[in-house]
């Protein structure tokens, strides 16, 4: 299994973290975004969106972090990480949607503005991100994990950019239940961190 990867990408880290939690080994292929390697013809043949991460599992190529999490969970995980029944599956999907919306377009974008000089409106990203954190906080006040009474790929998808929020100027002080959930994620067997975490 090969992972086209970039160290500082929270989306790539989701896959590194999930592989670590599942005990899966893989070969890392670093993609130099600063050199534009993600926009070369050979990389675009792997992923037409020109983004990392991309997974190549013995020739099955999957792009997009959310799709890769679902692929790995279904292929190498068990019902714990991604249920098959409609309602438990929908619970996971709800939080995957939050990870793609408030968290990605709020918190991750705010971090990308602050750290990588991306051109987005920092205040608007922070506000969207905080709205997502408020939803998480409210939920985690009464539940240990996002989508079930045990961790699922919803937690793996939401955790990185939520925990990295301070890098985008969004403090986590006002979100104590998120702080406890972050500690629970970090205590999972096999957990690995990334720069900043």
């Amino acid at each position: 299994m090969k992972l086209y990867d970039m160290e500082f990408s929270g989306n790539c880290y989701k896959i590194r973290l999930f592989c670590a939690l599942l005990g899966l080994s893989y070969e890392t292929i670093p993609v130099e975004l600063l050199k534009g390697e993600h926009k070369t013809a050979s990389f675009l043949a792997l992923n037409p969106r020109g983004q990392v991460p991309v997974l190549d599992d013995a020739g099955s190529v999957v792009w997009d972090s959310m799709a890769i999490l679902v692929y790995l969970a279904r292929k190498y995980g068990n019902e714990q990480w991604l249920p098959t029944e409609p309602e438990p599956l929908a619970r996971v999907m709800q939080w995957l949607a939050v990870s793609e919306n408030e968290i990605l377009y709020g918190l991750a974008r705010a971090r990308a503005v602050a750290r990588f000089n991306r051109p987005w409106d920092l205040a608007a990203c922070q506000e969207l991100g905080r709205s997502g954190l408020a939803v998480l906080e409210n939920h985690l006040r009464h539940k240990p994990w996002l989508a079930a009474d045990h961790p699922t790929i919803a937690d793996v998808a939401c955790y990185p950019y939520a925990a990295l929020a301070p890098e985008g100027g969004v403090a986590l002080d006002g979100f104590p239940s998120i702080g406890q959930w972050i500690a629970r994620v970090q205590a999972l067997p096999g957990y690995v961190g990334m720069p900043g975490l």
Copy 2:
């Protein structure tokens, strides 16, 4: 089954369209966004994000259009709409991710700026949206549907805001394969439209 709905929302329309394709009937509960009904305590108890659509299926409440599509496909659809095997499932998830990213934060936001005076950067949204359309166009040049050789919820999720792109000032003239795919969607048995489509 009850659908908390708003007529002009492409995200709500995804659910109305998929119910029509599955032959499912439901009760519509209009939510008056202009009156702020989506931010009332009773609505936030249904969906903590304060957004439509929300589905209430005999007490099972699911929020978020992507999660609702997955729920309905798994509960009332069949393998055609949402496969269970890892790789075919990942193919659907890839395009659901596009629907949540380039399409929602590009095309749908551009439409919201143009039609509903939302405060986002129109040119940046249009550019992101066009990058998503380019990926769709490239894929649909060789395939009739996004994630399989038949329609899946990936098509249902990507279709509305792709087809509504001109309302956000993004012309579809340069995307002939998307135009043919739109016609294929509109020819599906049970298809229903929405204002603008």
